[in-house]
Amino acid sequence: MSEITKQTLNELIENVKNKKLSSLEITKAFIERSEKSKKLNAYVTDNFSQAIDNAKKFDEKPNFEFKLPGIPIAVKDLFCTEGTRTTAGSKILSNFIPTYESTVTKNMWNEGAILLGKLNCDEFAMGSSNETSFFGNVQNPISENLVPGGSSGGSSSALAANLTPVTIGTDTGGSIRQPASFTGTVGLKPTYGSCSRYGIVAFASSLDQAGPMSTNVKDAALLLEVISSFDKKDSTSIDFKRNKYSSELTNNIKGLKIGIPNEYRVDGMPSEIEDLWKKGIDYAKECGAEIIDISLPHTKYALPTYYIVAPAEASSNLARYDGVKYGFRSEGENLIDMYEKTRSEGFGEEVKRRILIGTYVLSSGYYDAYYLKAQKVRQLIKKDFDDAYKKVDAILTPSTPSSAFKIGEKTNDPVSMYLNDIFTVPVNLAGLPGISIPAGIDKKGFPLGLQIIGKSFDEQSILNIAYSMEEKINYKNNITDWWI
């Protein structure tokens, strides 16, 4: 049997069911490795002693019917966990202990999983490199001083470094798929409405979705099956018939039509990305898919649209952090002064920048010119996809326009940071599912990902395509444990 922390989720489950491994052995192995890996700064809060207790409890009365029997899992610190501090990577929530559990994490614990800890992320999930977290930068296990992507950067780092067998993140404009791409892992953003948003710290409510992150496609299918559910507590949760994603997973994608959007060939895209994409097309053909050229004409307007819609929703959502009822408070001379000081000291620079953009585009006299305009363009972007899906079953693109960059490289230029999400943002705007799978490395040896975008509610097809291509690509991360 291979080293515990190197096993996939499916292997660990198999070993628990066959009584070759106990929950305690597995939990201890991941804790031990996590403790040796503090330099990565992947965790904000650990739950190790509680996890040990829960593992012992599981072993005393094991239930092998569970989908995640006694499996320890660390999650992004954007999910409210009852009794365990939840910070959203912000100073303003640095002392917040929720009295309720998010639905997606509850779904995991109901299937036997054990909370290992809370993982670092960009503040309120606003960032593409995990450099906006109040709790510091996260290291990418691929190479020292490399960003792990963002905003689910603690999640991608912990996953690639084998500190957790799988994890969950949230994706508003690419925050699952981009960090997955930067760390050579798999990340899936489900259809809007598939996973409940109840108990997830809100960023942009019409775009936010939780999703699985894993080292392989089969694990992602299983974790999605656990976390996706209809939930009365989220008014945008959708009651559709969910597939049994893991048992229906197949590598037979013969005859599926995969579209290649011409507009994703953006100016200045490195030739390595172009080559990777071509290779991906060849793999898809080898797998039996039919390749069809398609057009998504409004692609270039997706990022500008996103940078109106997301900050507008964020400025409204974050109005609740005023120092009155909970969270950080800075005392002021009067009420207004208290509000202003609390928010000025409690939020970091990127969050403040986005709140100000949002306030501006929603302010009197500018609403029509910005917000309304953006919602109209969003309609056009969605229509592009609707039209494309009359001809194809899924769409294949690169996940990101580059591989991971150095810590500090883009922090002074917000627009160049935003450009990271150029291939992922349209998917959120249209509410579609998308998955990023590792597909190769660049000259520097850093991972590059390919993205498969599906029709609404058709996670099964993109999982199947990813599963089939994964076999052909046969990607393996080369991680040297340089931080230990």
């Binding site: 945008t236 302010s363 305009k373 109209k376």
Partner: protein, 95 residues
């Protein structure tokens, strides 16, 4: 369209975020480069396009107005910013 110092100060007032002169200058620069990028949308004629209100073709569900979580007084009070165990004590917000 350029965002000047006066506008930055105005929107920070609206957003209840205090900014000093130096920060306001930096923010004006950042916001201008972001809005320059956003202005690209003006190339598009959207006169006859309906704004998107929801990505999913659904309407909000109705539910009965019933209390579902009961007896959670202590849980709620546990997040009170003041140590008082019986009341949720907050700063005075109404003059």
């Amino acid at each position: 369209m350029t965002i000047d110092l006066k506008t930055v100060k105005h929107i920070s007032k609206l957003a209840r975020i205090s900014v000093d002169e130096k920060k306001a200058n930096k923010l004006a620069g950042d916001l201008n480069s972001i809005f320059e990028f956003i202005e690209k949308l003006n190339e598009l004629n959207t006169e006859n396009v309906e704004p998107l209100t929801s990505v999913a073709n659904t309407t909000l569900r109705f539910r009965k107005d019933e209390v579902e979580s009961k007896n959670i007084r202590e849980k709620i009070l546990s997040n009170s910013p003041d140590n008082n165990k019986d009341f949720f004590v907050v700063p005075k917000v109404v003059e």
